[in-house]
Symmetry: C2
Subunit: 192 residues, 2 copies
Amino acid sequence: MFEVFEKYLRSKTEITDEELEMIRAVSIQRKLRKRQYLLQEGDVSRHDCFIAKGCLRTYRVSEDGNEHILRFAVENWWMSDKESYNSGKPTKINIDALEDSELIIFTKENFTELQAAIPNLRLFMEQLHARAFDVIQNRLYTHISYTAEEKYNNFIKSYPDIFNRVPLHMIASYLGVSRETLSRIRSQYAHR
Amino acid sequence: MFEVFEKYLRSKTEITDEELEMIRAVSIQRKLRKRQYLLQEGDVSRHDCFIAKGCLRTYRVSEDGNEHILRFAVENWWMSDKESYNSGKPTKINIDALEDSELIIFTKENFTELQAAIPNLRLFMEQLHARAFDVIQNRLYTHISYTAEEKYNNFIKSYPDIFNRVPLHMIASYLGVSRETLSRIRSQYAHR
DNA sequence: CGATTCTTTGAAAACAGTCAATCTGTGTGG
DNA sequence: CCACACAGATTGACTGTTTTCAAAGAATCG
């Protein structure tokens, strides 16, 4: 399982064999079954998780009891609640597996030390965080400027891999529309 | 003008007099008149800007020609397009002043060197970026789960200072609703 | 004061949400 | 292997919300 992570790291950043061994030494491997939780509302997020295999989602439950999906993540993506991770406060979000998944996990303490010891790792993670911000800002833009149909088409175009393995009602939740509306958008689209 | 920035830095992070002098030495002071642009679509963002006084906005123009405001920023906030700044590619956004404003500006080269030379500055900026991510993720959540009225009330509660100095049609743009809808939400709210 | 910018209002049309029912495909247990 | 349960997707009818377009009323600035 660690080989996936090793391959990922080597392709993304310059890293020596010794550094990789340091990383491996503190890595935790974990399997999640479909529907199993990685993090639940009220927990404190204390880990960085790399997805070696599978598919997870983060969602929040609103006051009226509805689930709202904030993001999906598949192989080679990271998953955690940065807000709780950084602040040490209980999280407002839930993370669970949409498929049987395999994760490489680091505790916050270990991962902080690794980044201090391995400048390239730190640099890489910083770039990752910076890009995550860009992605979310662009997504916010789609929410204030796109129609539901445009958001849906944009999603398919941007994440065809996720589109093909996640149920539509979850995509509706991610896009912020009801599943019925998404269904109707799809049928209109098919009839043109 | 630099005193505002000095006060800000000293209150937010441990910093020595020499370090502060290093920072001051490469800082650029700039004034913007209302409606003047700091960055326009197609430019490359090469600066970090701290707002010592005034109010700016970033917005994007959609294909149908509408302006969509991504964020406002007032005193003691930073303003730049991180995406273009990091990638070196032309920006998709515009930044202009909503009031006469005063800025402390650093070139990317200078600011990168400062952060390398001053660990506390680097740490502080990292925390700032991390919090910016949390803020935008929470805002995204409000967009997929709140009604227009809830978004409006949440905005007033979160940013009363901005609410009081920005025209309503811009708040409508920021919230992703038409100005007429915002106006009607307000009048309904007043009649209860 | 006149011009511009900003805000509000009205009416019609487009859009999205809700509730209830039905349809489809998948997988599990008998 | 079949029947049944279950999760997911769709459809219809209705309701409620939001946009659009047009107009008019405030407020602000030079």
